[in-house]
Amino acid sequence: MKGERQGFPGSLERVAALYRTMARIRAFENAAEEASKGGVAAFGASLAQAMVRGPLHLSTGQEAVAAGVCINLSKDDLLTSTHRGHGHTLAKGASMERMMCELFGRATGFNGGKGGSMHIADFSVGMLGANGVVAAGIPIAVGAAHALRIQGRESIVACFFGDGAVNRGPFLEGLNWAAVHALPLLFVCEDNRWSATTATGSMTAGAGALARARAIGVPGVEVDGNDVFAVDSHSSSLIRKIRAGEGPQFLHAITYRFKGHVSVDPATYRDGEEVARALEDDPLLYAREKLGQSDAEAIREAAEEEVRKALAAAAAAPWPEPASAYTDIQDTGSRWR
């Protein structure tokens, strides 16, 4: 939905902060993609060759949504994410190195190697988890927001999900619940136009995500999700309403998934012109224009350096002990057979 872009009325520091987050996400995911080559058994590769095993869902091209929303959250705010969650995790303040360690399956990863990319979480910054099931984060976010209400805490919850999630039942259930109870919850539909390998539009009736939200009684806005300043500014005003007690709000951010559904998916099912147009509208390039090339380049180089360190740390980190496969399951009945 690229239209007239307004630029950014805020400070250069904020522009830099937004770009820094985007650059870190891009650098992280590029490196993770490289490390995942040969990592998916279904594509005939030897898993032994890859540092990152299994499906790796990249948010490349969608970084502006994570950056623009999360800059408006505080550490005490909570966040739920999706299988495509590296960007949200970094933007919420989690350590890049510990996330890379988790992708490498190492004991020093956030989840001790038990979760991997699809279950990344860092509770120390309020990141309650990516999720391997589409729309599954919505009820969890609703419950977390309800808990904040019950506990009398001032924080809010940001709930990220994709355009595919609007066709699952928990979308209806969760939005209805949040509206009925006026919960402190920002729903973020990060609309990358593709549900795995199917164009979402071809499978979605009616006027789409925001119209559905409004029909349920959750107000919101549609935003150019590749314009990080627009995402920031709209998130800011929606979150202000939530903090003022106006109940849940909905941000429908329209963006594009540069890569395939998983890192090894070449996405040849997409129209070449559509992809080419999308690549020209790279959200990082737009942010760089506003920041100035030399400042941007310094930030990008710092992000690359951070990733190099994260990769080195992850490669050198210890594997989890096999015995840890038997911990963190349940306290009661810890017998395996």
Partner: protein, 318 residues
């Protein structure tokens, strides 16, 4: 000691837990009115609509929200109305509640109790009459409990809330009105069976409503039958079962669930592996529960059927 019902006993246990710990909250359909079986009677009046939360008919989100509440520091008690409806929330039970702690590398726990009244409910047909305990016992991360008496519905519900793990709590739809003695001082640890009747010829392991049928059958049997109420299905009390079975030399497992791939198969196999003794199972035939009484009766594991199984088993050589 006072006489109380199975429903009221659970209500008392929940009331005590809510008084003891402000993190305990209740959510589900109709809980404000006391729940459809009155197992929440008076709780919303006592604790308010914030801690006893009425919800839409949204099973996925009731269970998923409970997971979110737990991750954010609460101890939710979830009402699923009947286990058959909890099937609408299986992603949230199996993929979220049961797995979260492990997948997150222990960063958080999911201390929740999901009450899912199970079992055959007269005249209610196939979507309101299932016994699905084996499904849940199969899933790592879950505790599974099935109280058979008012005393246990008090003591076990308290233990379930206290244990800190996700618990599938299977009350029986036909036991709500059952009366019995209640001593609020009695504890029932998770994972500990109760020997309901002593005997020397056959060990009969059962749980939930079928306990009462089994006790009737044992009273009429020629053989001396030891009846063990398992109470917790995962973790199940191997020590008690194995000790009894080693003594009697015969194990009969009886449950209301469909026999094929029922939890009785697990117990029978484990005992056979461990002791090499004769084992036998009795469960329902693998048919949906029919509406008409003659059809419904085919699915019932009655005292008569249990007695036949005991007599047949006792007649066989060890």
């Amino acid at each position: 000691m006072a006489l109380t019902t199975y429903a009221a006993a659970a209500c008392e246990a929940l009331r005590a837990a809510m008084h003891a710990d402000t993190r305990v909250v209740v959510l589900g359909e109709d809980v404000g009115r006391g729940g459809i079986f009155q197992q929440y009677k008076g709780l919303q009046q006592e604790f308010g609509a914030v801690r006893v939360l009425d919800t839409p008919i949204s099973e996925s989100t009731i269970m998923g929200a409970a997971v979110g509440m737990a991750l954010a520091g609460l101890k939710p008690v979830v009402e699923m109305r009947v286990v058959d409806f909890a099937l609408c929330a299986m992603d949230e039970v199996v993929n979220q509640a049961a797995k979260a702690r492990y997948m997150l590398g222990g960063q958080a726990r999911v201390p929740l109790v999901a009450r899912m009244p199970g079992g055959l409910w007269s005249g209610s047909a196939a979507q309101h009459s299932q016994s699905l305990e084996a499904w849940f016992a199969h899933v790592p991360g879950l505790v599974v409990m099935a109280p058979a008496t008012p005393q246990d519905n008090y003591s076990l519900l308290g233990a379930a809330i206290a244990c800190g793990d996700p618990v599938i709590y299977l009350e029986h739809k036909e036991l709500w009105g059952l009366q019995g003695e209640l001593d609020q001082g009695v504890k029932a640890p998770v994972g500990k069976a109760r020997t309901a009747r002593n005997g020397s010829d056959i060990t009969l392991v059962t749980w939930s409503r079928t306990l009462h049928e089994a006790l009737k059958a044992a009273d009429e049997a020629g053989a001396s039958v030891e009846v063990i109420d398992l109470r917790t299905l995962w973790p199940w009390d191997r020590d008690t079962v194995l000790a009894s079975a080693a003594r009697t030399g015969r194990l009969l497992v009886v449950h209301e669930a469909v026999q094929a791939a029922g939890f009785g198969a697990e117990i029978a196999a484990a005992v056979a592996e461990e002791l090499g003794i004769r084992v036998k199972r009795l469960g329902a035939p693998r048919i949906p529960v029919g509406y008409a009484k003659p059809l419904e009766d085919e699915a019932r594991v009655t005292a008569d059927r249990i007695l036949s199984a005991i007599n047949e088993f006792a007649g066989r050589a060890k």
